[in-house]
Symmetry: C2
């Protein structure tokens, strides 16, 4: 077991000063060629690599990005992480991931933990509980300390920072419009409870599409599901309303459950019932029938979020710490309609 070698050890071994070793390894012209080469050879032989922690302390930056998301066993979020990780890696950054489990307390705790020097900036998506409580002090605190934050998907207007989002309302509108274009007029909406910001926006898009097409709005055609595991009855009741010929589901889990329920009830998809879902995941691709979805393009969201954060991080360096007004941007990632079998 040979522990990692340090500058100090090399210096001792070679009988030179630590400064000389450091400079040699950084190819400083200050150092005589002979010494430099000697040091370099020795360092190479012992696989010397500078200690990241020491560098972080010295440079006051860690070259790592903190990610805080509600859950990781989730197609969309893992896709975003994938995007972030790839951009980060290209630019020499690592990512450290914390899960909030949709809990406010865990979100706060994890942010505080990481904010104490472990990372240079955050990329995050709000937990349900945080959105419900509307308490964002932990985020503004971090921003106040000068640490950049990029929020994605589940964002809030209450915080002034860079954001990467879909136009959820517009995307929902387009989804519903596409159903209308195919001759469907009695369109139901299956959504989540209201405090999830994106849920609300998607509902707005749905309502607006109906309105613009002069289709009467019927409250009974909207159901809000809190828990996926026991939504069967609610969905059955909705489908029993024979007047329905299409449903817009706010995520693919709802969509596949609807299709399965329809099957059981002898309702044919897409003939009798067209189904379209927000969030393109793996299920939609492999369900029978395959499900038409609106892809949020999580990978792209991740890439963009990482780019924005890193850009801000690297530009801060030369900034003269002036108290200039920060100009934040909100990037809207275009969603993409992926037509499959569940709408014809």
């Amino acid at each position: 077991m040979k522990k990692k070698v340090t500058l100090k050890q090399i210096a001792k071994e070679l009988d030179v000063s630590i400064s000389t070793v450091s400079k040699s390894l950084r190819n400083s012209l200050e150092i005589g060629e002979e010494t430099r080469l000697k040091v370099q050879a020795f360092a190479k032989f012992y696989h010397y690599k500078p200690n990241n922690i020491a560098l972080s302390l010295k440079n006051r930056k860690t070259k790592t990005i903190g990610i805080i998301i509600p859950e990781i066993v989730h197609y969309f979020f893992s896709t975003v992480i994938n995007g972030i990780e790839h951009v980060a890696n290209e630019k020499g950054y690592s990512v450290i991931i914390c899960l909030s489990d949709d809990s406010f307390d865990k979100e706060v705790l994890n942010m505080e933990l990481l904010a104490n020097g472990s990372i240079d900036g955050f990329i995050m998506s709000l937990s349900k509980e945080t959105q419900q409580k509307k308490d964002f002090h932990h985020i503004s605190e971090v921003i106040n300390q000068g640490m950049p934050v990029v929020m994605f998907d589940r964002v809030t207007n209450a915080i002034h920072c860079d954001k990467v989002i879909n136009n959820d309302e517009l995307a929902a509108y387009e989804a519903v419009q596409s159903l209308i274009d195919k001759g469907r007029r009695k369109i139901a909406l299956v959504t989540t409870v209201d405090y999830v910001s994106v849920g609300k926006l998607r509902t707005d898009g749905y309502t607006k599409a109906l309105l613009d097409n002069k289709i009467p709005f019927d409250e009974n055609r909207i159901i809000k599901i809190e828990n996926i595991d026991n939504c069967g009855i609610k969905i059955e009741k909705l489908l029993e309303d024979k007047a329905i010929d299409a449903v817009f589901a706010v995520n693919e889990l709802f969509a596949v459950t609807i299709i399965k329920t329809a099957n059981k009830m002898g309702i044919k998809v897409p003939e009798d019932l067209a189904v379209i879902a927000f969030t393109d995941g793996i299920i939609s691709k492999y369900s029978t029938p395959t499900i038409t979805t609106i892809s949020q393009r999580g990978m792209e969201m991740g890439r963009v979020a990482a780019k924005i954060l890193i850009e801000r991080l690297e530009s801060e360096e030369d900034e003269l710490e002036e108290d200039e007004e920060e100009v934040y941007k909100t990037v809207v990632i275009e969603t993409r309609l992926i037509e499959r079998e569940s709408t014809n």
Copy 2:
């Protein structure tokens, strides 16, 4: 913008020494009550939190775990991360995640990056390319430097370290046996290419189950798929062999593809063809019919891996750096058969 406050600033402000501040905040009895309380009040007011990086450097441990996995948009792996993250969090550790994208070079690069002080230990699953090349020098190097490594799922005998695995051979055996118990005798195997360690083990289990039941082994009933995207033809050819009444797929993506192909060909699942898959993911639960699977219990694997690593990390502390023989353990996580509609 008020930057984070440091001990130095507090000391200056209160006109005491840094040592006094440090000791006060750590509730040292050395310090007089008055001073201590004064410092604590001040620190609290300014939200003082010690800098993690400085602590890491001082203590020579980071309280963070490095995870290296092939991909993250993958049900099993994200499940494992979830398990790791939760026990890590409980014990005050963070996790930093790097993806190898199944590339040997990225795996090596990322390990070297993290090994330079960023983390206390690794939890990892080998990339395909690494398994193919059988080059594990980067892992033994890290271990040699005294950094503990726990491998899971895709492991190798070439490296001596703690491991968490399924008994892939046995699980495959049991899966095939369950098909046989249901009267199926002409069982096909759809697997991956051989260099993936678990793929090979599952094949062995399949073969053995046939043998033990005196069912003739037919090489034509085994197909190896390299790329999921264009395996349709291979599967069709297999299913055309009317003699087949069951198939054991090495993952759920293969299984669902088989079911869809069967449907198209007018073959009924499970009546004409029973399908069972390794790896319980989200697709199996929502496919039509739902798919019987062998759950690898990724969450549990993650939990166990994290526990082993942290235990080793914390026990090392008091260990007197003796050159005692390390005793590594391999924990086998029992798989679970989850019966659904695709086998009857």
